[in-house]
């Protein structure tokens, strides 16, 4: 099939970028979206041009590396699907596709379609864990956890940290990302001792990185390739409110 691509090309964070147009040959409907870009890149290299840079690694929808906006939608048109799992059969002959990087102030462009997502790691370092040193754990079955809670916790934990939620949000909020981690641990007994401190620490860092606030448009939920629910944001907000109102002492320790 034949399609036309408009791809964001930007040399580095300092240079301005622009859309370039390409007409890749031999697009096969069974190709994944990234394989279509691979084939195009091989042509570009052969012609002596710099290949289009894009983040990708596992190509099975779980590492969260791939990150591109396709026709205005993070990861493209298919629901619950990362760009690497999107196949060309989702498009038709003659389609015109616009491919851009995540657009958010907190995610500066590194090159072409690659953005800097290290703010997510810095948020994680502010509380996205249970403080338990190796070797100090009790027997795993000494702490029964109801199946419903464990399943709910898992659903939040399925977040792949890709950042599509930020790209979809008009406020560039990363609340869905933060709430997924906060919820995973808030739903489990292991997460209780640090629950307030975690919500405070991670949200403070979220704000500091320049992500915006949540205004409940649900754009993040619609774009999330793992279909993480915004119910988690409600839980995060509750914990955050509770922490600031009733546990001011955690405020200082969260900043340690």
């Amino acid at each position: 099939m034949k399609i036309k691509l408009h791809v964001w090309r930007q040399k580095n964070a300092k240079s301005p970028g622009k859309m370039e147009t390409y007409s890749p040959s031999d697009v096969n409907p069974n190709m994944s979206f990234l394989e279509m870009l691979d084939v195009l890149n091989e042509d570009l290299i052969k012609k002596g041009e710099d290949a289009i840079s894009f983040d990708h690694d596992c190509r099975e929808g779980i590492c969260g590396s791939c990150s591109m906006v396709i026709n205005g939608r993070p990861h493209g048109p298919s629901k619950g699907t990362t760009a690497c799992q999107l196949h060309m059969r989702s498009f038709k002959e003659g389609d015109e596709l616009f491919i851009e990087p995540w657009r958010a102030g907190a995610f500066p462009v590194v090159k072409d379609l690659i953005v800097d997502r290290t703010p997510f790691d810095r948020i994680m370092a502010k509380g996205g864990f249970v403080s338990v040193n190796t070797g100090s754990a009790q027997d795993a079955n000494a702490l029964p956890i109801s199946k419903d809670l464990a399943d709910k916790s898992f659903e939040a934990a399925a977040c792949i940290g890709c950042g599509a939620c930020v790209a979809a949000c008009k406020n560039s909020s990363a609340m869905l990302f933060v709430s997924a981690k906060v919820s995973q641990l808030a739903l489990l007994p292991q997460g209780q001792p640090e629950r307030m401190r975690r919500a405070l620490g991670m949200l403070r860092q979220h704000d500091e990185e320049g992500f915006g606030a949540c205004t409940n448009t649900k754009a993040c939920e619609a774009a999330c390739p793992k279909e993480i629910s915004i119910e988690n944001i409600a839980r995060l907000n509750r914990d955050f409110m509770k922490a600031t109102l009733f546990y001011p002492e955690h405020e200082s320790s969260a900043n340690e």
Binding site: N30, E35, R59, C63, A125, G127, N141, L143, P144, Q184
Partner: protein, 636 residues
């Protein structure tokens, strides 16, 4: 090259606790004086970095991804084994040990495997304490399922995303240490060489993948946790970025490379769909708990599966291996699928596929139960193939998945280079010539959480690494070599892209050094690879610049190392004149089953680099079995 396994004396079950008592300790206040570099932050690297930092060592960690959370451990689907015996079905440390040694076809070191089985239970405790949401029963206790090569249910899981949840657990422990400033983390940074000073591993040279900056790093010890080399086959279930560079560079600096030909071909992957294919996707082994593998009995039977009546289907695993059935180990199941296809009974357009059928399970359990167990895998299958596995059987075919070979390590997980430790898939130690399902996560985390943090202190206390700095001549020289190499890649300006060379190499490896190997094929592969390597260095084309982000340049460096490494694999496969586990030499078989030669090959083959274009030296570590009897591996 001296290969001292340093296995402690005494009864097998007491070796590890005795060793932990015998090793020299570093007092807590002195630990912060020792620094360690960890390369790779998947399960093994992240757990090791976090744990060593908790102990008080100064850790600097590196990964090529933008975040440790993206290492390919994340893609492990089915589960993690542990000898908890929560199901009361007769499991024990000894049984896990026995299954692993037998599964590996008696080509692993007893003491290491026993230790692995011992610490397996601690991993589950640790992960649960971190908040890893494993599957549970309604009573709130942990659930288990079965995996290939065992007759007990000892596999813990989190739907089909166990690797993800365990990695995120290790990543959270690592994040905690990063937040406390005890681990310095460098993402988008690739190790391009190892630096040795006075015979000890003392640092690395890296390239920052965003800026292109080449940098020197020094420490008192270096840990490689850089995963396996399955991508030497071009198509594998590994992530696109997985590579052999770190371990191969260490090999070129004197570290022995053990059993490079031991690779695992996983039986249940989605078949190749065309020439554009960039990677293969695994369908978890756990599916074989409920899915039945079959091929048509008639050659060239092109009817849709639903139209093939029961009596015309060959459920070949159930027929050939009645006591393990569809849960026969990976190497055996892969070969059986290949046989059916070679026999002209393969399915799908290419004829390279067999069915994995859930119709019986759906009838027995209902579609909802099947969806709860495997929903994400079924969805993934449907996205890739556009076929609905609830309605028609999956098509599967074997694909390269894991590499049992790796850098040789002793009982302390130290390589033949003093101070260079190797953990996880990057070392050779625990899986012999075939790894059992759900054992990779176990080994990565055992090495990282529980073994290395105990043994590295002994290295510091006994070797007492002297002061060094990144301005030592060895560092400068290594940096210059790395820069020259990059310059070379940029300046050849030929006509073929790195990916083209990679594809050609992969084709040779899969045809000649894949599921079935023979002398003539391996010899021809060696000369073909040598010719391809020559072509690479005169005809490579890399566009863009050496500065800044350049994925074509990254690929070129990785392919250059794969080219040399592929030859080493073929040499190893050529000399090992026996069949064992995943290494199947067609000359050595009995009724289609692998035929081991314990008299001549009951050893680990360890290769020592001898210089550019020279044949490397092959050393042996003899394997002695004190507890188990060498026996023919049978799953019938």
């Amino acid at each position: 090259m001296k290969l001292e396994s340093k296995v402690p004396s005494g009864p097998l079950a007491e070796k590890w606790s005795k060793h932990k008592f015998d090793v020299k300790l570093i007092n807590p206040a002195n630990k912060r004086k020792y620094s360690v570099i960890v390369v790779g932050t998947g399960l093994a690297g992240a757990s090791a970095a976090a744990t060593m930092a908790e102990l008080g060592y100064k850790v600097t960690a590196f990964c090529y991804q933008d975040s440790p959370r993206r290492a390919h451990s994340i893609a492990a689907q089915g589960g993690i084994n542990a000898a908890k015996n929560y199901q009361g079905d007769g499991d024990s440390v000894h049984r896990l040990f026995y299954d692993t040694i037998k599964g590996g076809d008696f080509r692993a070191r007893e003491a290491n495997v026993y230790r692995l089985a011992q610490v397996s239970t601690d991993i589950i405790d640790q992960s649960v304490a971190q908040g890893v949401p494993f599957a549970r029963d309604y009573g709130g206790l942990l659930a288990n399922r079965s995996f290939g090569g065992s007759q007990v249910s000892r596999t813990f899981y989190a739907r089909g995303q166990t690797g993800q949840q365990l990695l995120l657990g290790a990543y959270s422990a690592l994040s905690r240490q990063i937040g406390m400033g005890t681990v310095e983390m460098h993402g988008k940074t690739e190790m391009l060489d190892l630096v040795i000073v006075n015979g000890k591993a003392r640092g690395i040279i890296t390239r920052n993948l965003e800026t292109g900056e080449i940098k020197r790093w020094a420490a008192d010890a270096v840990v490689l946790a850089t995963g396996g080399y399955g991508n030497v086959f071009y198509l594998s279930t590994n992530a696109i970025g997985c590579n052999v560079t770190a371990t191969y560079r260490a090999y070129k600096k004197g570290a022995g490379f053990a059993n490079p030909c031991f690779t695992q071909i996983h039986p249940t992957c989605i078949p190749v769909s065309g020439d554009h294919q960039s990677k293969l996707t695994l369908m978890s082994e756990s599916l074989r708990n409920d899915g039945r593998v079959w091929a048509p009995k008639k050659k060239g039977d092109k009817r849709p599966p639903a139209d093939i009546p029961e009596e015309e289907r060959d459920y070949f695993l159930e027929v050939k291996y009645p006591s393990y059935g569809n849960l026969a180990p990976r190497d055996i199941a892969s070969r059986a699928a290949k046989e059916a296809c070679d026999d002209g009974r393969g399915v799908g357009e290419s004829g390279l596929g067999v069915y994995l059928d859930f119709a019986d399970a759906i009838k027995r359990l209902g579609e909802d139960k099947v969806r709860e167990r495997y929903g994400n895998l079924f969805d993934m299958y449907q996205k890739i193939t556009d076929e609905n596995p609830y309605k028609m059987p999956m098509r599967i075919y074997p694909a390269v998945h894991y590499t049992m070979g790796g850098l040789w390590v002793d009982y302390n997980l130290m390589s033949t280079i003093s101070g260079l430790h190797v953990i996880g898939e990057a070392n050779f130690s625990d899986h012999g010539s075939n790894r059992l399902g759900a054992s990779a996560l176990m080994q990565g985390l055992a090495d990282g959480y529980f073994v290395l943090p105990n043994t590295i202190g002994n290295y510091f206390a006994t070797a007492k690494p002297e002061k060094t700095s990144i301005d030592a001549p060895e560092f400068i020289q290594a940096e210059n070599e790395v820069k020259e190499r990059i310059q070379k890649f940029m300046s050849i300006n030929g006509t073929k892209t790195p990916a083209e060379f990679h594809k050609e190499l992969g084709h040779i490896m899969w045809e000649k050094c894949g599921m079935a190997r023979d002398k003539a094929g391996l010899e021809s592969a060696i000369s073909k690879i040598q010719a391809l390597k020559k072509d690479f260095w005169s005809n490579l084309k890399v566009t863009g610049t050496a500065e800044g982000l350049n994925q074509t340049l990254e690929r070129a460096g990785r392919v250059a190392d794969f080219l040399e490494f592929g030859e080493l694999m073929c040499r190893d496969a050529l000399i090992r004149e026996e069949s064992c586990g995943g290494h199947f030499r067609v000359e050595h078989q009995e009724e289609g089953e692998a035929k081991r030669d314990d008299a001549n090959f009951c050893h680990v083959a360890v290769w020592e680099y001898q210089g550019e274009d020279k044949v490397p030296l092959r050393h042996k570590e003899e394997l002695t079995f004190e507890t188990l009897q060498l026996s023919t591996r049978s799953y019938k």
